[in-house]
């Protein structure tokens, strides 16, 4: 190992010693100690195969396609029971500017996206000249004769950057004397994204992009007001948190498909216009969380504990948290040259809500001398029905490493 490299490692390890508290960053009011870094790398596997409609019903991600034969009635209904899988690597770096103010940057990288259209078919009207209703094979033979291919599984977005996230959290309760010495903490957080994500290829019918809108996990500019309270007694093992938020998704401009790949389905530009804009609608909601320390773990003698003034302040060995989020989704607003087309899109993104359940378990090894945490999380939108939302479930596995260099 070269000299500079050894210095870097030594500095990193030294820094880790001084940043024990940073590893507990899940609470609404949590900030990093001054001059502390927290590097968080997580693999996120997201899967999605249904949505909730306007009546809260279980529905497909892509609207049914009713296909008509000119003057011959309904050929049939194509039901795309699409399944979307995202694989992401989410890198986050947070920094404690002061003890009560932390800054952060998030770099989500989409490793791969797969969209399986899984088309099924409901036969339509009887066609006398065919002697039957269109079968699925009949229909796609017919469509192919008009230049319309059957959409197949789409894979893409390999290594594509999503929108970068910049954020800050300020625990302002530290400045409120009345709260001093209590177990209640209050914080304000904000974040914004940089538009580094990729829009989907407009000509692909089942493709998806990597922008914040595509991921639909959060807004592009968010404001959070959070509080958490550690329940006295019970060995201070239980903390309850409440986070309220308002998140904004901005209007963007998109290129209208011209039907170069799907001439029967996606020839929109002649009447929609060469481009259109979309304001997806904002998010408003709250998150209720419960964090329990399952095991504090022993504070043994090791190189790390020996360098910490209060080894008991190191993160507990095992922490489990549960959360519930309610997010109100505002009406989307599509603007093109065609009010009819705008409505055809807006009706899929009408006001609604989603109910998210989250669970996370954090295994912290700092007390054993390893400056590392293993985090496993699960987020679920499909168990509690929502309205006009996609029911994405995600599983994430990550590592966190706190560090302090100066």
């Amino acid at each position: 190992m070269s000299g500079p490299a050894r210095l870097l490692v030594a500095a990193t390890l030294a820094g880790l010693l001084l940043a024990p508290r940073a590893a507990r960053a899940g609470r609404p009011s949590e900030t990093l100690p001054k001059n502390t870094f927290l590097l968080d790398a997580a693999y996120v596997h997201s899967f999605l195969n249904h949505a909730y409609g306007n009546d809260g019903e279980h529905t497909q991600l892509i609207d049914k396609l009713y296909r008509y034969e000119p003057g011959g009635g309904l050929q049939g209904i194509i039901i795309p029971d699409a399944r979307v899988t995202y694989q992401l690597l989410v890198l986050k770096l947070q920094y404690g500017l002061t003890d009560d103010l932390s800054l952060g940057v998030g770099v989500p990288v989409v490793l791969a996206t797969t969209v399986e259209p899984r088309l099924s078919w409901v036969p339509g009207d009887y066609m006398w000249w065919l002697g039957r209703s269109y079968t699925e094979q009949d229909f796609w033979d017919w469509a192919a004769s008009m230049g319309q291919p059957r959409p197949g599984t789409w894979s893409g977005n390999r290594g594509a950057l999503s929108d970068l996230v910049l954020g800050a959290r300020w625990r302002f309760s530290d400045r409120i004397p009345a709260l001093s010495g209590t177990e209640l903490r209050l914080a304000f957080a904000t974040y914004g994204v940089l538009p580094t994500g990729r829009q989907k290829d407009p000509e692909e019918i089942v493709a998806t992009g990597t922008t914040t809108w595509d991921l639909h996990f959060q807004g592009e500019l968010g404001f959070h007001l959070g509080a958490d309270w550690t329940v006295p007694g019970a060995d201070r093992r239980l903390t309850v948190g409440l986070d309220t938020f308002y998140e904004i998704l901005f209007r963007h401009r998109y290129t209208t498909p011209r039907g170069t790949i799907h001439p029967l389905i996606l020839t929109l530009a002649p009447y929609v216009g060469d481009s259109y804009t979309l304001d997806p609608g904002d998010f408003l909601g709250f998150t209720l969380s419960f964090e329990a320390i399952l095991a504090r773990g022993p504070v043994g003698a090791n190189w790390l504990t020996e360098r910490v003034d209060d080894p008991e302040s190191l993160p507990p060995l095992l922490v489990f948290s549960l959360g519930y989020s309610f997010t109100w989704l505002f009406q989307s607003d599509w603007q093109s040259q065609s009010a009819i087309w705008d409505w055809s899109q807006e009706k899929l993104w009408r006001p609604g809500y989603k109910n998210r359940l989250t669970a996370e378990i954090v295994l912290s090894l700092l007390r054993y001398g390893w400056p590392l945490q293993v985090v496993v999380g699960y987020s679920n939108l499909s168990w509690i029905p929502g309205k006009n939302c996609r029911a994405t479930d995600t599983l994430s596995v990550g590592l966190r490493a706190p560090a302090k260099f100066f």
Partner: protein
């Protein structure tokens, strides 16, 4: 790409508060119909429409033509090019066949447009920003399509199975005059050549009879594709009750014999629907299929039902598959509640989940001529129904006929013919009549004299209570048979009412009632025959005609606008999938009621436009 925040944060927060209070502002669907009150020169009226409807003109053009009809018709090129060599030219390659077909036809039709309508179309193009060529196609494609479709049905009919003979096994020994020829059980009484007809021509058959059908096709009839449907059952060869054998002079044809288990019900009108396909498999255009014949219907009565041949309407039954097609009726005097005339029309043809989103009621005030309102579509200068300020109301239906300009082209240029339409497009002709005529008497010569693009049936009513049904074709033989007039109470040679239930009503469907020989022409080995022998609409229209007649007969004397709206919405009468608009005209009151913007059109409310009111206003 990211835009600036569409609203500043304070605005958003304010909006948030408002939305929370207002239920969060869900988007609402746009209206699918528009109303325009137009004044000015024809060009100005067109320009105003173009500016207002620009987006909808583009979307109806794209969705109905570019992504639906045009690619669909491209698939017909191989069979057309086989017969008409002009279409083997490479310029029709690469999906250009249908576009060129419509464009060439439209360009030819342009010369038939009176100048003021040419100016209006130019205004539509300038106002919307669409090329005039596309606006012209939008305003002529229905006329071209109708004639083109008749040609393709004819071609298909040439090579598909035909029901040639029907035999009732016990009719020759039942002691009854089943065929109404005045003789009983004469030789061959149980056998008759199949003839499409609106009336039942074989009666009082023993219920236990077998019915044998001889089906003929040059490629052989495929028994697996034969299906005989009765009102309550469906049979295929091999099913109990239906057997297959041979017929024809050489035994080359397929005979299917039906005797339902237990026989036919006694004292009943029985109707059969026959489907058949041949043994040839057509691969191009996909999907692979046999040559399927149009479904034919015929009925008979069983012993005890009563009635003579030609007296029982061929009502058939709801097959659960087909739709009845456009229809209309006009009533007056004793037929209506207040004696005032009414004309009602439910037009259906081609929706494809598109047309209903682009409907428009246009009130034209020509610089010279009578103001008139038409029910149509955005970007279309025409409509298939309308009424003018004098109270003249007209509705038009296509009445499928090979007596059309495309056949004339074929007859003139044979294999080098081009499928180019000619004549004044029907919807434009309707407007011409409304603009120039104050009464039925004045309108008839206009409609009769104009060159037609196809077979069209017209229903007219005026404020004085004059009612007329006019059947027209393109009269390509120039034998004067291109126009036939039917008035309330008119009867055929056998004394049956042609299109009325009484003396004060007329009904409009899509089959000819008077013009039963719209074209009979043989050349180049082809036999071009009247409508009833090839039209896929024919039997459905006959059923609709009788059902409508019964409905009107039940309501004679009690009909008003509300009753007319009910009839237009009747599930047995209206086309549930290609309905396009529904109107009720009150000529004496200069008032019209319309429903459009959904499928079927009558699933939505009727709105009212009072032509006499100033300014005109649409009210629920």
């Amino acid at each position: 790409m990211i835009g600036l925040p569409s609203r500043h944060l304070p605005d958003r927060l304010l909006l948030l508060l408002v939305l929370l209070l207002a239920g969060c502002g869900a988007a609402q669907p746009p209206a699918h119909w528009e109303f325009l009150d137009l004044h000015g020169t024809p060009y100005e009226q067109g320009r105003i429409q173009g500016e207002r409807f620009s987006s909808r003109m583009r979307s109806i053009y794209t969705q109905l033509l570019t992504t639906s009809i045009l690619p669909y018709l491209n698939r017909e090129r191989p069979s057309i090019a086989e017969m008409l060599w002009t279409y083997q030219d490479p310029k029709y390659d690469d999906g250009r066949f249908s576009t060129l077909l419509f464009t060439e036809s439209a360009q030819n039709l342009w010369g038939f447009f009176p100048a003021e309508y040419q100016e209006e179309l130019q205004g539509l193009a300038d106002g919307s920003g669409m090329p005039l060529e596309e606006v012209l196609v939008l305003n002529t494609f229905m006329d071209t399509l109708m004639a083109f479709r008749a040609i393709t049905y004819f071609i298909r009919d040439q090579s598909s199975p035909h029901l040639v003979e029907i035999e009732f096994s016990l009719a020759g020994q039942d002691g009854a005059d089943n065929d109404g020829d005045g003789e009983t059980d004469e030789a061959g009484e149980g056998t008759l050549a199949f003839e499409p007809d609106p009336w039942v021509n074989f009666v009082e058959v023993p219920p236990e009879t077998e019915v044998s059908l001889c089906l003929s096709d040059p490629d052989g009839v495929n028994p697996e594709l034969v299906r005989i449907q009765t009102g309550d059952a469906s049979f295929r060869p091999g099913d109990p009750g239906l057997t297959a054998g041979t017929c024809g002079s050489q035994g080359q044809d397929l005979r299917v014999t039906l005797r339902p288990p237990g026989g036919f019900p006694a004292a009943t009108y029985v109707s059969l629907i026959v489907s058949a396909g041949d043994r040839r498999v057509i691969e191009d255009p996909p999907p692979p299929k046999a040559n399927m014949a149009r479904e034919v219907r015929f009925g008979f009565s069983t012993r005890g039902f009563g009635g003579k041949p030609g007296e029982i309407p061929e009502l058939s039954f709801d097959d659960g598959r087909s739709q009845p097609g456009p229809f209309g009726f006009a009533v007056r005097g004793a037929a209506t509640l207040d004696g005032a005339p009414l004309l009602a029309h439910h037009f259906s043809l081609l929706d494809s989940n598109t047309a209903h989103k682009h409907t428009a009621l246009i009130y034209h005030h020509p610089a010279s001529g009578l103001a008139h309102a038409t029910a149509g579509w955005t970007g279309c200068a025409f409509g298939f129904s309308g009424m003018n300020q004098a109270g003249l109301a007209i509705a038009a239906n296509p009445c499928e006929s090979l007596n059309n300009p495309l056949t004339a082209e074929f007859r003139r240029d044979l294999f080098l013919a081009r499928l180019v339409s000619s004549g004044i497009p029907a919807g434009i002709l309707l407007r011409m009549a409304l603009s120039q005529a104050s009464s039925v008497a004045e309108a008839l010569p206009i409609l009769q004299a104009a060159p037609k693009t196809f077979g069209w049936c017209w229903l007219l009513a005026d404020a004085a209570g004059e009612l007329t049904l006019l059947e027209t074709t393109s009269d390509i033989m120039q034998d004067g048979s291109g126009s036939m007039v039917i008035r309330p109470g008119d009867r055929d040679a056998r004394g049956r009412l042609l299109a009325s239930a009484g003396a004060d009503d007329l009904r409009l469907n899509v089959h000819f009632r008077a013009n039963l020989s719209d074209l009979e022409l043989a050349f180049l080995g082809y036999a071009l025959r009247p409508q009833r022998y090839f039209s896929n609409y024919y039997f459905r229209s006959v059923r609709s005609h009788h059902l409508l007649g019964q409905e009107l007969a039940d309501r004679l004397g009690a009909l008003d606008a509300a009753a007319a709206e009910e009839i237009l919405a009747h599930p047995s009468l209206r086309d549930a999938r290609d309905s396009m608009n529904a109107v009720v005209f009150e000529p004496a009151a200069r008032r019209l009621h319309f429903a459009m913007g959904q499928v079927p059109a009558t699933d939505g409310p009727f709105y009212t436009l009072d032509l006499a009111a100033q300014p005109p206003e649409v009210t629920p």
